[in-house]
C-alpha cells in the first residue's frame, strides 16, 4: 500500500479512539428524526424568540450523565453535523464528542475560526464572538452557528427583539447569558451579510437568534 497522509476524518482534537462500550445511541430513525429536528430548528430561526421544542426520540440519552448537555443541543448537532462540518466543544465532553464523531463523522476542532458548529456549555466564559468564522461576502452562510446552553428560556434578562420573522416586536427572557455577549453581537451587525447565528438551548427546547435580529436589552 502506498503511504498516505491522514484523511480529514482523523484530524480530531480528541486523538483518542471512540469508546464504543459507553457510546450514546443516536437517532433510532436517522432519516425521519433528523428531518424532524431540522424542521424544528428551521422554525426557531425563522421565528426568532419563539420557544421550539425538539421532539426527537433519543433513547438512552442521559442529560444528567454528569455532563448536563441539553438534549436539544445533542439532537441538533446529530441532525446538522457531518464529515464536512468541524464542531467545536467549549469543554471536553467525552461522551458528546464520541457520539458526534461516531454518528455524524464530524471532525472536532479547537480552532474557533474553523468551527462550523460550536456547542458552548458555559455561556459566562465563552470565547469572543468575532473569533468565530463570520463567513465572507460571497459565502456569508459560512458563518458559524452557535448552540449556547442557558439556564432558562422563559425567565431571565428581559429583552425586546425586532427584525425579520418578528411581527413588530417580541419580548424574550433568557437567563445565563452575559452582557458581553449582547454587546459583542451588536458590534457584528455592521458585518452583515457576514455574521453568526445562534440557538439558545435548555433541556429539549431552543430559541433561535439569526444574525438579522436586532436585540434591545432592557
Amino acid at each position: 500500500m502506498l503511504p498516505d497522509k491522514l484523511s480529514t476524518t482523523l484530524h480530531s482534537s480528541n486523538a483518542a479512539g471512540i469508546d464504543l462500550a459507553t457510546l450514546t445511541p443516536g437517532f433510532s430513525d436517522t432519516v425521519h428524526d433528523s428531518q424532524g429536528v431540522f424542521r424544528a430548528l428551521l422554525d426557531a430561526l425563522s421565528r426568532p424568540g419563539k420557544i421550539v421544542s425538539i421532539d426527537a426520540v433519543l433513547p438512552g440519552f442521559e442529560q444528567d450523565g454528569g455532563t448536563h448537555v441539553p438534549m436539544a443541543a445533542f439532537a441538533a448537532l446529530l441532525a446538522l453535523a457531518d464529515y464536512s462540518t468541524p464542531v467545536l466543544l467549549q469543554h471536553e465532553h467525552r461522551g458528546l464528542s464520541d457520539a458526534l464523531r461516531f454518528h455524524t463523522g464530524a471532525p472536532l476542532t479547537l480552532d474557533l475560526a474553523q468551527a462550523v458548529f460550536a456547542y458552548l456549555h458555559d455561556a459566562a466564559s465563552m470565547p469572543p464572538l468575532d473569533a468565530f468564522s463570520l463567513g465572507d461576502p460571497e459565502t456569508p452562510e459560512n458563518g458559524a452557528m452557535l448552540f449556547i446552553r442557558v439556564d432558562s428560556l422563559e425567565h431571565g434578562t428581559p429583552m425586546t427583539w425586532r427584525g425579520p420573522g418578528i411581527r413588530d416586536k417580541q419580548s424574550v427572557h433568557i437567563a445565563g447569558v452575559p452582557a458581553s455577549f449582547w454587546h459583542e453581537r451588536a458590534l457584528l451587525a455592521s458585518e452583515f451579510p457576514c455574521g453568526i447565528d445562534c440557538y439558545f438551548v435548555h433541556g429539549g427546547s431552543v430559541i433561535g437568534l439569526p444574525r438579522t435580529t436586532r436585540v434591545e436589552v432592557a
Binding site: L2, L20, A21, L23, G26, T30, F102, H103
Partner: protein, 163 residues
C-alpha cells in the same frame, strides 16, 4: 492483502483488519451459511444497535498518474452497521461491518460475525468454521481469475532464420 488464506499475524489467526476484509467480500448467502455452520445450533448472544444498518456513499479517490496526489473519481455505495453484544459479564464486544453495496441483512450478519470473533466463547469456532472457508473461497476465486487472465499472456517468439 492479496492472499486471504494467510495472515500476517504471528499467532497464525487472522487479525481483525484481515478478517473484516474477508467478511466484506462475502456474499449474503455464503455468510449466512458459514455463520450457521460456525454456530452449530448455539444461539448467538443478543445485541443492541449502535448504528443500525445504514446505506450511503463513499467517494472513491484515485491518484494522478497512479502515483501522485489524490483526486475524486466517483462514489461507491456502502452499507455499514455497528452493534454491541449484550453480555452479563466482561467487556461487550462491538461488531462493525462496512462493505460495498446496499445490503442491510448482509451487514447485520457481518457485524455479528465480527463481534463473535472477538468473543472468547465463540472465537475458535468462528476462525475455523467461518473465516477459514470464506478466505479459501476468495483465494480460490482470485486464483481462477488470475489463471484465466494468464492464459491470454502473449508469448513473443522470434523467427530463427534457418539455413
Amino acid at each position: 492483502m492479496s492472499t486471504f488464506a494467510q495472515t500476517s499475524a504471528p499467532s497464525g489467526l487472522a487479525t481483525r483488519q484481515e478478517w473484516l476484509a474477508i467478511l466484506a467480500r462475502t456474499p449474503r448467502a455464503r455468510m449466512k451459511e458459514a455463520l450457521d455452520t460456525a454456530l452449530d445450533g448455539v444461539s448467538p448472544p443478543e445485541f443492541d444497535w449502535l448504528r443500525a444498518p445504514d446505506i450511503g456513499l463513499a467517494m472513491v479517490r484515485g491518484r494522478i498518474g497512479g502515483t501522485g496526489d489524490a483526486f475524486n473519481l466517483g462514489e461507491v455505495t456502502v452499507t455499514r452497521a455497528t452493534l454491541r453484544l449484550r453480555v452479563r459479564e466482561g467487556r461487550a464486544a462491538v461488531g462493525v461491518a462496512v462493505h460495498m453495496g446496499r445490503d442491510k441483512e448482509r451487514a447485520t450478519l457481518a457485524a455479528l460475525a465480527d463481534a463473535l470473533l472477538q468473543t472468547p466463547a465463540f472465537e475458535a469456532r468462528m476462525h475455523e468454521h467461518l473465516l477459514a472457508p470464506l478466505a479459501a473461497r476468495i483465494t480460490e476465486s482470485r486464483a481462477q481469475k488470475q489463471a484465466r487472465a494468464a492464459a491470454t499472456k502473449v508469448e513473443f517468439f522470434t523467427m530463427v532464420r534457418g539455413d
